[in-house]
C-alpha cells in the first residue's frame, strides 16, 4: 500500500539552527501539505503546495519557513532559525485531487528545539 514517508522521525536541534524536514509523498499525488501539532494542542495547517508553488499558507507560516520540492519525489519544510516554540510534531500529507477528498499523512517528525 502506498504511503507518505517522513524523515527523520525525531530531530533535536539547538535554538537558532536551521532544520530541514523531509517527506516523500505518494508518487502520483500532486497536492502536498505540511501540518504541525504542538504537544497538547490541535493539529494546525501550515502550508499547501501544488505545481511547484505555495497555493495557500496559514499565518503560522511566516518568513522563517519555506517549502520546496527539490526533485520529483521529495517535499521539504525548512525552518531557518528555530525557536523553542517551533518544538512540535510536523506532519506531511499528500492528496491526488484538488478538492483534497482524501489526504494521506506521514508518521510525522518530532522536532525538539533546545
Amino acid at each position: 500500500e502506498p504511503e507518505v514517508t517522513q524523515t527523520p522521525s525525531h530531530q533535536v536541534t539547538q535554538m537558532g539552527q536551521e532544520v530541514i524536514l523531509r517527506c516523500v509523498p505518494i508518487s502520483n499525488h500532486l497536492y502536498f501539505y505540511w501540518y504541525r501539532q504542538i504537544l497538547g494542542q490541535k493539529v494546525e495547517f501550515l502550508v499547501s503546495f501544488y505545481n511547484n508553488e505555495i497555493s495557500e499558507k496559514s499565518e503560522i507560516f511566516d518568513d522563517q519557513f519555506s517549502v520546496e520540492r527539490p526533485d520529483g519525489s521529495n517535499f521539504t519544510l525548512k525552518i531557518r532559525s528555530t525557536k523553542l516554540e517551533d518544538s512540535a510534531m510536523y506532519f506531511c500529507a499528500s492528496s491526488s485531487d484538488r478538492l483534497n477528498t482524501e489526504a494521506f499523512f506521514g508518521q510525522g517528525t518530532r522536532l525538539t528545539v533546545v
Binding site: Y35, K42, S55, N100, T101, E102, A103, F105, Q107
Partner: protein, 113 residues
C-alpha cells in the same frame, strides 16, 4: 473561517460497549467532513469521510458518522468497541481554496477490558 470542536478530550469505555465521539463544526461555506484516527507512534489515518450524498457514512471496521447540517455535527459512533480501537480520534473539516484541513483537538478513546 472554519472551526471544529470536539467536546470530549478523553472517553473511557468498556469493551463491547457502544461509544459516541462528538464533533461540531462551524463554517460559512460548504465543507467536507472527516474523521482521522491516530494509533500510538503512527500517523493520521483516514477513518471515514462525508463529501456529499447520504448523510450516514461508514468505515470498514464498524464505525459510522452522521452529517447533521442543522446541528452542524458529525458525531462518530460504534455499537460495540474492541480493545484495538484504543487510539486518538480527530474530527476535521476542509474548506478554503486549497481545501486544507482544520482539525479538532482530538478525543482519546480508551477501551477497557
Amino acid at each position: 473561517a472554519q472551526s471544529v470542536t470536539q467536546l470530549d478530550s478523553q472517553v473511557p469505555v468498556f469493551e463491547e460497549a457502544p461509544v459516541e465521539l462528538r464533533c461540531n463544526y462551524s463554517s460559512s461555506v460548504s465543507v467536507y467532513l472527516f474523521w482521522y484516527v491516530q494509533y500510538p507512534n503512527q500517523g493520521l489515518q483516514l477513518l471515514l469521510k462525508y463529501l456529499s450524498g447520504s448523510t450516514l457514512v461508514e468505515s470498514i471496521n464498524g464505525f459510522e458518522a452522521e452529517f447533521n447540517k442543522s446541528q452542524t455535527s458529525f458525531h462518530l459512533r460504534k455499537p460495540s468497541v474492541h480493545i484495538s480501537d484504543t487510539a486518538e480520534y480527530f474530527c476535521a473539516v476542509s474548506a478554503g481554496s486549497a481545501r486544507q484541513l482544520t482539525f479538532g483537538s482530538g478525543t482519546q478513546l480508551t477501551v477497557l477490558p
